[in-house]
Amino acid sequence: MTVISYREAMRQALREALSRDERVFLMGEDVGKYGGTYAVSKGLLEEFGPERIRDAPLSELGFVGAGIGAALGGMRPIVEVMTVNFSLLALDQIVNSAALMRHMSGGQFSVPLVIRMATGAGRQVAAQHSHSLEGWYAHIPGIRVLAPATVEDARGMLWPALEDPDPVVIFEHVQLYNLEGECAGAPRVDIASAAVRRAGADVSLITYGGSLPKTVEAAQQLAAHGIDAEVIDLRVLRPLDTEVIVESVRKTRRAVVVDEGWRTGSLAAEVMAGIMENAFYDLDAPVARVCSEEVPIPYAKHLEDAALPQAEKIVAAARAICGKS
């Protein structure tokens, strides 16, 4: 087995896509000469040339719109947006155009576009680059939202996303790029289901994206307290795989949802609602959640750490609902 980084896995996925299908091209700010803000596309310009690795001007609205146009015209564009914060400039294109096109055209047009964007905090890049707005996109019908949290998913999700005839948004958490894991060749993964990352009997810890490593760490700490935690990785934020969530909660009877988004109106709230609707009579304790504090993510390291979900907070929440705090 080969150990590679999440960043390398994403680059391999891009390379595979560009090689397999000549309609695929990558477009975004600094993806070419600079090699990508997080160095994901380093070397691809040299390998595939400026026609297919295209540096875009500083206008998210413009280049996401161009991506939609290219997709309508038969291409398979991959558009990279530097961070989810900046993607708000392109919300009109994503929500009002890409997500609606199939509906508004009565099924005549589809938009086979993939939008990749970095998300999340933890690198001290301050509030305008650190927010976690996956939940906003997960609210929109017409798009599929992915959150690869493992090296394998980073390597395997891009190709099925390109095969989807409708827009797919992929969130890459900035804390994950240096994550290393075993990955050989091109793993076949789906873009429809949640995954059990650790089996357990006492409490379900449900999370996604950048919070997965923290949650797995929390599960290990909980084992020392005699609590056997199951870890669910949502993987797909829209449409949510409620079945896996409910099956897990029916088994463990307790759940903590971990979400880097702000608590109010969070994706965590949606997951909790799904549990209430489907597994209320199986619950042995109120469902808990660990989310970001309701502040702009601070720059200072200790404040940033305090604002985000951390393993200790997850452990405390799980112990509380297990009656072992």
Binding site: R253, F280, Y281, D282, L283, D284, A285, P286, A320, I321, C322, G323, S325
Partner: protein, 394 residues
């Protein structure tokens, strides 16, 4: 805004299981209307309301056991708007916890303190499992967050109870619960009330003849029994000697405004209940007889009204049917007197200087010495004696 709280339906009641609502938000209610059904340790009771208003919010949920004094619903006072009620709710502090009397001993130890007026924390899965296993989740010790009862707690309790006999758990609980309630009330009575006892043989020659003549001209359904005469004579005697009729509370006696006679009724499944017939002093014998028949029937069917449970100001027990000559009762607190009647039987009595065989009964009085003395008690019993010699005046 008016708060409708779970009333105490007798001195032995400290909690009740709410069964169902008989009203819904928006209904107009007035004094005496039945609004809810509550299961006490003794019977399912139709609870009446004592305020006039419009039902605003129903708070109690069916199946939940509540402490006496818990707010069950809120009402809008006549003329009050929902907006005003909401505003009042916001300014009002959280419901005041009702202290649990120290003398009520819980059957099972509960780990977490049950906050009066608050629903016991039982997890959804524990509640479901408890129903399946026939375990009363309210009595299970909870180990979950905030002392909540968890699935594991219920299953542990069920495992511990496997030695229970074959009698259905619910029925057994009910009987045990009633026994407990009677034990608590009677222990309190004997602990707190200095009883004194008097008895008197009361000739019933006149009453018997009068009843025979009266019943001969009445239809079968309108016939009157001696029991009705007893009740009426006690009530009229109470009017003359009010220190037998009322409640002893907080160190002082409160005379009853009317005579609500509690009638001791034994239940077929065991146990005893003594609901009131209201305003006995004002009622005709025909009316009393109807009320008595109705009360016995409803007591045994388990559908009494809350006022019947909480209002008695004196109790009458009639053990004559069982064939005993006399009965010396235990006062039902906070009442201050209990009148007992034994068997009505032919006895040798001296009447007007001669020995005659006539029907007679032994009437007895158990009274509270804190409120009255033997002398008053004797006058009271003598008055009952006197009244029963003039049945036509009852």
């Amino acid at each position: 805004m008016i708060e409708f709280k779970l009333p105490s339906l007798g001195a032995d009641m400290d909690k009740g299981k709410f069964l169902e609502w008989r009203v819904k938000p928006g209904d107009h209610v007035k004094r005496g209307d039945i609004v809810a059904v509550v299961d006490t340790s003794k019977a399912a009771v139709d609870v009446e309301i004592w305020n006039e208003g419009t039902v605003y919010e129903l708070i109690a949920e069916p199946g939940v056991t509540m402490r006496v004094g818990s707010v069950m619903a809120t009402l809008l006072a006549p003329g009050e708007t929902p907006e005003a009620a909401e505003a009042e709710k916001r300014t009002r502090p959280a419901p005041v916890a009702v202290p649990v009397q120290a003398e009520s001993v819980p059957v099972t130890a509960v780990a977490a303190p049950v906050v009066p007026g608050e629903r016991r924390r039982v997890s959804p899965v524990a509640r479901r499992r408890a129903a399946e296993l026939g375990v009363d989740a309210e009595t299970v010790a909870g180990t979950g967050p905030h002392g909540a009862v968890t699935l594991e707690d219920v299953e542990r309790a069920a495992a511990a109870a496997t030695t229970a006999p074959a009698v259905p758990a619910a029925q057994l609980d009910k009987q045990a619960e009633m026994r407990r309630a009677i034990a608590a009330a009677m222990s309190r009575s004997k602990r707190e009330i200095p009883h004194y006892y008097l008895s008197e043989r009361v000739p019933l020659q006149n009453a018997t003849l009068w009843l025979q003549a009266e019943n001969a001209r009445r239809g079968l359904t309108e016939r009157v029994l001696m029991a009705a005469l007893f009740l009426k004579s006690v009530a009229l005697a109470c009017e003359k000697y009010p220190d037998m009729n009322g409640l002893y509370r907080d160190g002082k006696f409160e005379p009853g405004a009317a005579v609500h006679v509690g009638v001791a009724i034994s239940l077929r499944q065991g146990g005893l209940i003594a609901p009131a017939i209201h305003d006995v002093q004002k009622k005709s014998l025909t009316q009393l007889m109807q009320d008595l028949t109705d009360l016995v029937k409803r007591a045994r069917a388990g559908s009494l009204r809350s006022s019947e449970m909480s209002d008695p100001t004196i109790t009458v027990t009639n053990l004559g049917d069982q064939g005993v000559e006399s009965v010396f009762g235990v006062i039902y607190p906070p009442q201050v007197a209990l009148v007992g009647f034994g068997r009505v039987a032919e006895q040798a009595c001296v009447v007007e200087g001669g020995l005659r065989i006539i029907p007679a009964v032994t009437a007895s009085l158990a009274a509270d010495h804190r409120v009255s003395d033997g002398h008053r008690g004797a006058l009271f019993v003598a008055e009952i004696h006197r009244l029963l010699q003039q049945p036509e005046s009852l």
